[in-house]
Symmetry: C2
Subunit: 406 residues, 2 copies
Amino acid sequence: MTSAPEKAPSRDGSVQDAGSLSRAGDLFQLLRDGRARTRAELAITTGLARSTVASRIDALMNSGLVGPAGEASSSGGRPPSRFAFNPAARVVLAVDVGATHVIVAVTDLGGTVLAERRLKQQVADGPDVVLGRVVAEGLELLGESGRGIVDLAGIGIGLPGPVEHATGRPVKPPIMPGWDGFDVVRYVQRSLPVPVLVDNDVNIMALGERTAYWPDHDNLLFVKIATGIGAGIISSGELQRGANGTAGDLGHVRVPRGDDVLCTCGNHGCLEALASGMAVARRLAANGLEASSGADVVRLVAEGNLQAIQALRQAGRDVGDVLATVVNLLNPSMIVIGGSVGEAGEHLVAGIREVVYRRSLPLATSHLRIGISMAGDRAAILGASQMVTQHVLSPAVIEATLQATG
Amino acid sequence: MTSAPEKAPSRDGSVQDAGSLSRAGDLFQLLRDGRARTRAELAITTGLARSTVASRIDALMNSGLVGPAGEASSSGGRPPSRFAFNPAARVVLAVDVGATHVIVAVTDLGGTVLAERRLKQQVADGPDVVLGRVVAEGLELLGESGRGIVDLAGIGIGLPGPVEHATGRPVKPPIMPGWDGFDVVRYVQRSLPVPVLVDNDVNIMALGERTAYWPDHDNLLFVKIATGIGAGIISSGELQRGANGTAGDLGHVRVPRGDDVLCTCGNHGCLEALASGMAVARRLAANGLEASSGADVVRLVAEGNLQAIQALRQAGRDVGDVLATVVNLLNPSMIVIGGSVGEAGEHLVAGIREVVYRRSLPLATSHLRIGISMAGDRAAILGASQMVTQHVLSPAVIEATLQATG
């Protein structure tokens, strides 16, 4: 609940209510597309009075979020000024925590990466070690980019396990000892007092891939195939996390072919036990090949090893078996295959396509694209940045910011 | 694009821009919860000036959407008036077209059914016959409710096949000869010139069930089990239709147990070929029982026939096999089982629960409820009404209405 604002005189001397001044955020949402506009254009598009547009533009210029963008051509007299969103106004710290690596990046509000650092780091070292390092490296990276904490709009963090997004706490993450229920937000905010948003890594990979490469696809599925298998779901343009934040868990869906394969979860026939990088490596090793990880599978396929190629294509068919169901259920227009094994080539995707186009409904596959991730190992960084800007540039937060500073 | 509005004097004589007047819709969205509020309460909650609130309330009173709601208690002087949403202001025509029936109902803007008529009607008679009858019966029903076309806010229609929601056209519906690509909206609007919204019946059943009985469940799956099998998906509080409007098609997901059963779609082992009312009836008939439809299955189960009970429970397990995947994927907090066979009792749901709780991830089932539809055969009517009110009471449409009439 906010208190009723006072009436404020506007630039042209008339009295207008602060309610409309507080609507500067609406104008900002319009300008977020990056296109430069004059005050007159903004008045026509929004239906607002020109005096109102002028005062709102002033408030946005004061915040730095909107800047001058050159002059428009004019039929005579002084050419009118144009204004546009200024993505350089603030920066975001984007963090991708993997099982054995951490990537820390500084981006602007448009998702452009300004600086980036890749570290070897075991997530199993626990939250104190990992997040302590994230904060220290983040501060250094900010400095190297010529920016300070005062420029930081927020921090986005992806973690390799289930996360309760509302609180930012990991929930029983299998490969993250010491992290269960840890208050990631409070820990990071002790050093960096800005909004901190945390999510599962596959969710933010979906967000990053879609924002950067497929903005027109409102129904997109991102499937990560690496040591494990998981998915991020975008429906109606929004990331879907489900009731407890576990949506997209494809890894433990049952695949008929695998009924005699025991999974680490205790069930038989889970997709992950059949088609993950680790599962394929195990099968190849049993056949005498040197393979102990997904990376080894990728290497063998790159070397043209026929057994590895066949195994990867079969893994693709198994993934396709599950995706055929997902396609009937969610009717996406785009499926992106990512993760270290997923990015490894067409053999996997060929197996996926083979089964999906055979098993899914014709109506659901008539316009369906299946392709390899374009964002690659930057998907999570791009998504972490996007998660933060979606929040800090949202109408509600922009209103609050402008009212606090204006 | 709208033209810039003129400045208009407000009630207290000050000049304010029409931009804020056009925001009467924001006030309305606040009042939609049905709670009565005074002008002062509205000013505090919204942060708007009291003069602005007064003029917006006037506009909403003129439209009839908001009405007086008695007087608030006061510490002295004249007690202030209170205002609330008036769901009786307009009515909705809600239509549920099934394979062999049509239900036409008149509801108010709050989804309360004012009048209802149930007709025997084959959808296969084609759109001219079926929609002609819908219009004629709808007009009669309006008259019986003491309302006219002028009171009609819109018409919502559910059809038993895939529908392109944006255009309201059926897309290759298997059991609806003559309907493929038919312009339902234009046909109905020739007689009733109001907004017409069309969707797949299972989608609006999900909407109706959720709105009427589970408003707190933002992630809900409605599974219809009748002659066929389908689902309506609500994620993040929104109905999800997918890229081509085919989302929720569970009927043709492959069930391992059914690999030797041919489905009408040409594939083997589809859920519908194993567990629909028709499939169960066929199996019972092969064992010498008198069963040729889902209704017969329901009757036999009600009579305590052990074979029918066992068959229905097995159908539940087959449905559960597919729902276990859906639960991992979407992480709903509520699964509602509906449709004529789905409503028939606990045997089916018991089979579903058995498999879902065994196969899905513990994190995803820890707070999951699985239950039988509360809305029953009114789910589609309630959903059709809700689909219309969601549209005609949305901020954008309310703004446009108020600007046109104000």
